[in-house]
């Protein structure tokens, strides 16, 4: 199920502004890859190019190639909707659908894709909520509105919603930045469990978090104000945090920079 992502020569633009420049990297399947770097360096933009969410913004466009196993996401005749079905995403702020119950939130992707069979949906709800470590907390109130949960629970609901459509890759854009340490811990544990099934990419500003949850870490930086963001290096997390090969990485993670 989990797939490898191969990015080569990828640049992303907002109108005429180049946000990221010529990024190439390989993201291994069944592992957690963390993106770190200062604000505005293009981590989130790059993440959004991996499931073609970047182009949702008016005027935004992408150059380069993203191979999911062997298929180019930006090839001719590729349907962005199909891409997003195999590359799921969890956002910075929990965003459950406010009109829907917990149950409907989890199966929103399936229901909107036309799955109607109650027995199938029931199974998916239990499996996904258990996968997101939320089942025990909400199993007695699946019919209640999803917006009534706490922030941490909402974010796990969003993760359950994302994994319910069984993607191959799960992208997470600072999934814990709006959460307290206990909810953060719950989600970090969850990431550790999910990596056995999915390829996970997580953007984070929290370096300890990157060190805790990821197998590999990519450091992004920008040369100066108004310059596009670049990938500085991608290596095993262990190595990035102990003995990075580029001086800028060491400066950043040791706090001597930015």
């Amino acid at each position: 199920m989990a797939k490898r992502i191969d990015v080569s020569g990828l640049s992303a633009y907002y109108g005429s502004t180049r946000a990221i420049d010529d990024i190439s990297m390989t993201i291994e399947p069944r592992s957690v890859t963390a993106f770190i770097g200062p604000s505005g360096c293009g981590k989130s933009t790059f993440l959004r190019t991996l499931n073609r969410m970047h182009e949702v913004i008016p005027g935004a466009r992408v150059e380069g190639k993203v191979l999911l196993d062997d298929e180019n996401l930006y090839g001719a005749n590729v349907d962005p909707v199909a891409v997003r079905r195999s590359v799921g995403m969890v956002f910075q702020r929990p965003n459950p659908f406010p009109t829907m119950s917990i149950y409907d939130n989890v199966v929103a992707g399936l229901k909107l894709a036309g799955v109607k069979k109650k027995s199938v949906l029931d199974g998916v709800v239990e499996k996904s909520l258990q996968g997101a470590n939320l089942w025990n907390e909400v199993k007695d109130r699946l019919g209640k509105p999803g917006a009534g949960l706490s922030g941490g629970q909402q974010q796990r609901l969003c993760i359950a919603r994302a994994i319910a459509v069984e993607p191959e890759v799960l992208l997470m854009d600072e999934p814990c930045s709006a959460l307290d340490p206990i909810s953060t811990l719950a989600i970090e544990d969850l990431i550790g469990e999910l990596k056995s099934q999915f390829t996970i990419v997580i953007v984070t500003h929290n370096m300890q978090q990157a060190a805790r949850v990821s197998d590999r870490t990519a450091f992004f930086n920008l040369a100066g104000v108004g310059q596009p963001g670049k990938l500085v290096e991608l290596d095993d997390t262990q190595r990035i945090f102990s003995n990075p090969s580029v001086q800028a990485t060491e400066d950043y993670i040791s706090g001597r920079f930015g």
């Binding site: 008016p58 909707v81 079905r85 195999s86 799921g88 956002f91 994302a162």
Partner: protein, 359 residues
């Protein structure tokens, strides 16, 4: 310890903050209001002012002045300004409510006698309006309901889709042009809308007077209101919800249909209902296009119909006729009740369908 001493020494005595200050009691605003009204009426009566409006304005002015001066003398100037602003808000509120309440009250007072089962279930067919108190508004109620319903069926979907286009798809020149024309349409006087439909539909295309041609004019008046309110409601739907839906592999049209519209449906319904309430009271286009009839015509596509606002005008325009006045007030009461009922329904729907965040 030493630092505390330094700060105390450095603070000039006049800037030292006292945390307690003289305050007016809680009943002070009410007492001020009562006193001002009494004083205002007293002065008004003594000066021989005839209009009760003048008495009221005098009281309001006194209320503002008294609350400021009393507060300034007891509590100081900053509190007095606060009291003055609060008083101003209250006075404005009363000024806004007084006409509303008195209009409703007067209509009920004048119209309640006309309301009877017969009045609500009979038309004016065979009734000589100036000589007999008989007859009713049944044909006008039927006409209003049908015309408004038809206008809504035309305007609501078009308005809704236009708003969806503007918010979800509209970019560049076309969107700007549409917005501009919607703005212009909002300002179209109802007579002009009536004339437009009259010259196009009835004269150029040769259709007869009918409820439907009235509905066309009403739809023109209704559409921009629906577009505007729906647009505002759709803009309130957070972009994050759209992105969440896209990220699940949901196509755009389905996202709009199943995520965006349901999230905004409460506000959209309210907007449509308010637009309905607005066109329900339109008289001019109805007069030109529906023509008015004394008999029951339940077919809006064939021949003249009646409608409540037109009925009111026709009855009232029979000069110095008590029977006509009576019927006009009765119909006015029914019209207000109808619009108020629609508003209550809209609020109910908005509360029922709006997203629930609570526990």
């Amino acid at each position: 310890m030493s630092s505390t001493v330094t700060i105390t020494d450095a603070t000039p005595p006049q800037l030292a903050h006292r945390l307690t200050a003289a305050r007016l009691p809680r009943w002070a605003p009410a007492a001020t209001a009562a006193a001002s009204v009494a004083l205002g009426c007293g002065i008004g009566a003594a000066a021989g002012l005839e209009s009760r409006v003048q008495w009221g304005l005098l009281s309001a002015l006194l209320f503002l002045v008294v609350s400021y001066t009393v507060s300034a003398s007891v509590e100081g100037r900053r509190q007095a300004k606060d009291r003055f602003a609060t008083s101003l808000v209250w006075v404005s509120f009363v000024c806004a409510v007084v006409p509303l309440v008195s209009l409703t009250f007067y209509t009920v007072q004048q119209g309640i006698d006309a309301i009877s089962p017969e009045f609500l279930t009979h038309s004016m067919k065979g009734v000589v309006a100036t000589l007999s108190p008989d007859g009713g508004i049944y044909h006008a109620i039927i006409g209003t309901i049908e015309q408004v319903l038809l206008a809504t069926l035309i305007a609501a979907p078009i308005g809704l889709l236009t708003a969806v286009y503007l918010v979800e798809y509209g970019r560049g020149r076309l969107a700007k042009a549409v917005t501009f024309f919607v703005d212009v349409m909002t300002g179209i006087p109802s007579v002009v809308a009536g004339l437009f439909v009259l010259s196009l539909w009835n004269i150029a295309l040769g259709f007869q007077y009918s409820g439907f041609s009235g509905s066309l004019a009403l739809a023109i008046l209704m559409m921009p209101v629906v577009v505007r309110s729906t647009e505002e409601m759709l803009k309130l739907v957070p972009n994050e919800l759209r992105e969440a839906s896209y990220a699940l592999g949901v196509p755009r049209w389905k996202t709009i249909l199943r995520i965006v519209l349901p999230t905004a449906i409460g506000g959209i319904t309210t907007g449509v209902m308010l637009a309905v309430a607005r066109i329900t009271g339109e008289t001019a286009p109805v007069m030109m296009l529906v023509f008015g009839a004394d008999f029951i015509n339940s077919d809006p596509f064939d021949g003249p119909q009646q409608s409540l606002p037109l009925y009111i005008w026709q009855q009232y325009s029979q000069i110095n006729n008590d029977f006509g006045y009576q019927r006009a007030w009765g119909a006015a009461l029914v019209l207000i009740a109808f619009v108020m009922g629609l508003n209550l329904v809209a609020r109910g729907v908005a509360r029922w369908r709006s997203p629930k965040g609570g526990h």
